[in-house]
Amino acid sequence: MTRDRRIAIVTGGSRGIGAAICQRLAADGLLVNIVYRERGDEAERVQHRIVAAGGEAVLRRADVAVEKDVNRLVDDVIRDHKRINVLINNAGIIQDQLVVLTESAAWERVLRVNLTAPFMMCRAVVPYMLDEGGDGVIINISSTSARVPRAGQAAYAASKGGLESFTRTLAAEVGRKGIRVNTVAPGRIDTEMTASFRAPGRETPEQAGWGTPEDIAGAVSYLVSADAKYVQGELLTVAGGRPMERERAARR
């Protein structure tokens, strides 16, 4: 069975949006390599849910912000599966702070994880996708904050804006080889990472119309599928229409 499955790598796969993407792609029939940095127990739970549902998943511990970890991760996947068909660059961090209070180290850490790491993953994976005759799909997970940031999001928004530009550039480079590279930009998604935005006194997810990780996983599933074979270098925003709302943006 494994021999026929397309091979996927999902970074930041132990929780939140990444976990939902892992489960969705496994349900779609892919063998999913769940990449996690610290939360091995949560990654294991994702793997158990996938296996219980009849899918296949492998756990891979790696810090994708570290180049040798990236190369080892890709080497391990190739050693075990011989090919890589799908890469989802989902791992990311948020360290919001006003620009005047942001230390250089924090700025560089955000850009390292959110922008440099996807670059290193793509650089390592693309040659193997070329080996497969271009049977490759890469999806970078951005954010609506790249285009509509709030105060304090300079590093995060810059990293995601850079990731969107990087996605289009890579699509221009490898698209003619059959490798599709696209971006999914989630809006407000109810996860552990965004829990601080829902502190007491703020809107509840239900009131604010927050999305779920499964909403993003569905969009990723579409872009991975053959239904999206003519979709290249695009940005798919999944935000429940929030970026179009003027009311909240105008509130002072």
């Binding site: 040659p127 070329l130 080996d131 480079e173 490898v174 080889k177």
Partner: protein, 89 residues
């Protein structure tokens, strides 16, 4: 020896046409440049070199051949020569 060179050349031509299908009906000779004569770009060359390593000569030093491009100007002859003289690292 010449038979071996000819066999490798034919295999190389086949890989060049796989990487750039538009060359299917184009005559390919050893004195041509992959880039200047046949229109491959740098991504094509990377893809070709990886296929050469996988299907013709696993010991080919791709990096060394690419680094010498100012001398060989991406000629097919130079790639064939690198294949024939490949040695385990």
């Amino acid at each position: 020896m010449q038979d071996i060179v000819d066999t490798k050349f034919e295999a190389l031509v086949q890989l060049i046409r796989e990487v750039k299908p538009s060359l299917a009906a184009t005559p390919i000779t050893r004195d041509q440049s992959l880039i200047d004569s046949l229109g491959l770009d740098s991504l094509d060359v990377v893809q070709l070199a990886r296929r050469v390593r996988r299907e013709i000569e696993p010991e080919l030093s791709v990096d060394a051949w690419i680094q010498q491009n100012k001398t060989h100007h991406w000629s097919i002859e130079s790639l064939l020569d690198a294949i024939m003289h490949a040695q385990p690292v």
